[in-house]
């Protein structure tokens, strides 16, 4: 669908004056801003993610296991919540109002909020790398007489690079796709530019043509990820022999706590302070929560069902698809929400009754998040030998019975995890929901955006707390499965 839209956008008519104006005066600025932001967020997130992953993997300190899980919880905070909370924290009504001289609404402020929100991807993947093959190379270097720091730098770090790179690519995709935080900081990236072309210049064809750049960039990043990962994620098996961790003492605990004060405590405290000072309109909050839960459940169940069906069918199909065809749907994850919305409106704008329906919104979620379901279920499936299904196929057992009796129970860890991932992503999702929701259908995310765009931080606080609360449950569940074991 994206490819079709890209081709059609160049064949169809365009508002020449709008396109020329954007091309001559704005496009370079959008592209340059996007690139600068990308480089800065990658650098900051990598530093934070790799540093803390190394600390909890190779160091021992009081509260290590607890803090190890806490470091993942920022996953529950969407970037746009961090953005408006931190903007508010430094404003006249915020808890750090005394630092008002410090201008947080700047490029580096945006880099800080995006990094806080996205570093957990790099942290989680680096941790997996360090705790599997990384720890063995670390031990080998130690045995050969290197210091712990040198053993990490020359042993664990280089061998874990494929995991770190996968995290970096995910952070890149999320940064390019970010709409809410950049919008709150009034920082014009390509994603914001597309939105402005559509809703500011009222030119959908121009927005579509601009989307081509991000479609290309997304495809490139996904292809790079596939190419880079090929035969490189050596193994995911956690090293069962406990490694001899260096005792880092309270200093490491203190470092984690200080960081978590900025990533967790301060934003939560500020949200609670704002919400206690504003009059909560509970009927509205309940309605928003219900809307969010309904659309997230429909989306997560539907996408998960098709993701499971795709992986389970591939496992029992006698026809082996080429890796290119298998990876083709993954490109969807490389497309920002604004671009997907633009593509869908471009293609279905003329279909009466289709635009502004929940069905179309779910279709948008499907394009963006189906790759997430496929990769999560597919990764879990790699740990289940194909023999299980092959034997049933050889015995001429109907496909539906194989799905019900073999694939569903054996792939359960994968589809359960995928459901939770999808659920969190849709609860937090902003641009597609904002653009494509039916009239009058607001979710917690869209309400937070509406209030925070107007500077009504106190009103945005309660829906934000509900988002963080709902997402936290899912994040804690993931932590319990991934790290708690």
């Amino acid at each position: 669908m994206p490819f079709m839209a890209v081709i059609l956008s160049f064949l169809g008519p365009i508002d020449e004056s709008v396109w020329e104006h954007i091309k001559d005066y704005l496009l370079f600025e959008y592209a340059s801003n996007t690139l600068q932001l990308l480089v800065a967020v990658i650098a900051t997130s990598s530093l934070i993610g790799v540093f803390f992953a190394a600390l909890v993997s190779f160091g021992d300190f009081p509260g290590r296991r607890f803090l190890m899980g806490c470091l993942l919880t920022p996953l529950a905070f969407p970037a746009y919540i961090y953005a408006f909370v931190y903007t508010g924290v430094f404003s006249y009504s915020g808890i750090l109002a005394s630092l008002e001289f410090f201008s947080f609404r700047s490029f580096w402020g945006l880099v800080f909020t995006l990094s806080l929100s996205f570093y957990p991807y790099i942290y989680l993947l680096s941790f997996q790398g360090f705790s599997s093959i990384g720890s063995r190379f670390y031990e080998m270097a130690m045995v050969n007489g290197l210091s712990p720091l040198k053993s990490f730098c020359s042993g664990a770090l280089p061998i874990s690079f494929p995991w770190i790179m996968t995290g970096v690519i995910l952070v890149s995709l999320e940064t390019i796709a970010d709409f809410g935080a950049a919008s709150i900081f009034s920082f014009d990236t390509l994603t914001i530019g597309i939105y402005k072309a559509w809703f500011g210049f009222f030119s959908l064809p121009t927005a579509m043509r601009m989307s081509t750049i991000l479609v290309g960039l997304g495809i490139l990043l996904i292809l790079f990820k596939q190419y880079y990962q090929k035969d490189k994620l050596y193994e995911n098996k956690v090293n069962s022999t406990p490694i001899n961790r260096i005792n880092l003492g309270w200093m490491a605990t203190f470092t984690c706590v200080i960081f978590l004060t900025f990533a967790l405590t301060l934003p939560l405290l500020q949200l609670i302070l704002w919400s206690s000072g504003s009059e909560a309109q509970w009927p509205q909050i309940i309605k928003l929560s219900a809307h969010t839960l309904i659309i997230s459940l429909i989306g997560a169940i539907g996408i998960n069902f098709f993701g499971f069906l795709a992986i389970a069918s591939m496992r029992i199909s006698p026809i082996k698809l080429s890796p290119f065809l298998i990876n083709l749907p993954l490109i969807g994850y490389g497309l920002p929400g604004t671009v997907i919305a633009t593509i869908i409106f471009f293609l279905f704008g003329g279909v009466h009754g289709f635009i502004g329906s929940l069905l179309l919104l779910v279709l948008a979620y499907f394009i963006r998040f189906f790759p997430l379901a496929m990769t999560t279920i597919g990764s879990a499936g790699k740990r289940v030998p194909l023999y299980f299904e092959e034997l049933a196929v050889l015995a001429n057992i109907p496909r539906l019975t194989i799905f019900k009796k073999i694939s569903i129970p054996l792939l359960k860890p994968g589809w359960l995890l995928s459901f939770v991932f999808l659920f969190i992503e849709i609860v937090k999702e902003l641009p597609m929901t904002l653009i494509m929701r039916p009239t009058g259908y607001s979710t917690l995310a869209t309400k937070v955006f509406e209030f925070s765009s107007e500077g009504e931080w106190a009103h945005a606080a309660i829906p934000s707390i509900v988002i963080v609360f709902i997402s936290s449950f899912s994040v804690i569940w993931i932590i319990a499965r991934k790290i708690g074991k």
Binding site: P385, V393, L394, I397, P398
Partner: protein, 216 residues
């Protein structure tokens, strides 16, 4: 009778052996040995229909499964009893459920009779209600053998079924397979990398290497 003529094995469109030709009459167990990576598992999977043949012909009891590399009978219609390298018992099912799953479509009485018959032959009667993780390596292998034969196949294929268990038990399990093949009067192949072990189980032993298949 299993007849194989000029069969070429391919992995990723690369030929891995010279053309193979051999026959296995009904009631005979042929042990297949050879160095690692030479294509023993690929040969077994090609006969089962789980791997595409490069060229050549495979037929069982006069029915041509593959002719000139073209699949004529899909894997699910070949009535093959197959035990892969690992026991691969369904971890969420008991031994009895692992066996009855392969007897779907038959009535309950026939299912019970078949299951009772194989578990008695393989001496695992007391393990029917156990889950795979409650079985020892040898017991799990015996359940895997029971599962391969419970569906009344017309050919039996065992891939490294004896690896991972100690020699004494391996010979005992090998002899059970030999007996099954003889009683059912069907052709059988037992793959093992251990040539000495295979010689102790069956007098019919073949060695597969890049030059093709040789009877030893």
């Amino acid at each position: 009778m299993l007849e194989i003529r000029d069969l070429e094995l391919e992995v990723n469109k690369k030929r891995i052996t010279k053309p193979i030709s051999f026959d296995i009459p009904c009631g005979e167990l042929t042990c297949l040995s050879g160095p690692s990576g030479v294509g023993k598992t690929t040969l077994i999977r090609t006969i089962a229909g789980l791997h595409k043949a490069g060229s050549g012909t495979i037929s069982v009891n006069g029915v041509c499964f593959v002719k000139d590399g073209k699949e004529l009978v899909p894997c699910h219609l070949r009535k093959v009893g197959y035990a892969p390298q690992e026991p691969s018992l369904y971890p969420h099912m008991t031994v009895k459920e692992n066996l009855s799953f392969f007897l779907r479509g038959l009535n309950l009485e026939t299912q019970t009779k078949r299951i009772e018959s194989v578990i008695e032959q393989l001496q695992i009667t007391d393990k029917v209600d156990c889950y795979p993780h409650q079985l020892s390596g040898g017991q799990a292998q015996r359940v895997a053998i029971a599962r391969a034969i419970v569906n009344d196949p017309q050919i039996l294929l065992f891939d490294e079924t004896l690896s991972g268990i100690h020699t004494e038990l391996a010979i005992k399990v090998g002899q059970i397979i030999l007996k099954m093949v003889s009683e059912k009067n069907i052709p059988g192949i037992l793959v093992s990398h251990d040539l000495e072990l295979t010689k102790k189980i069956s007098p019919n032993t073949c060695v597969l290497n890049s030059q093709g298949l040789k009877r030893s």
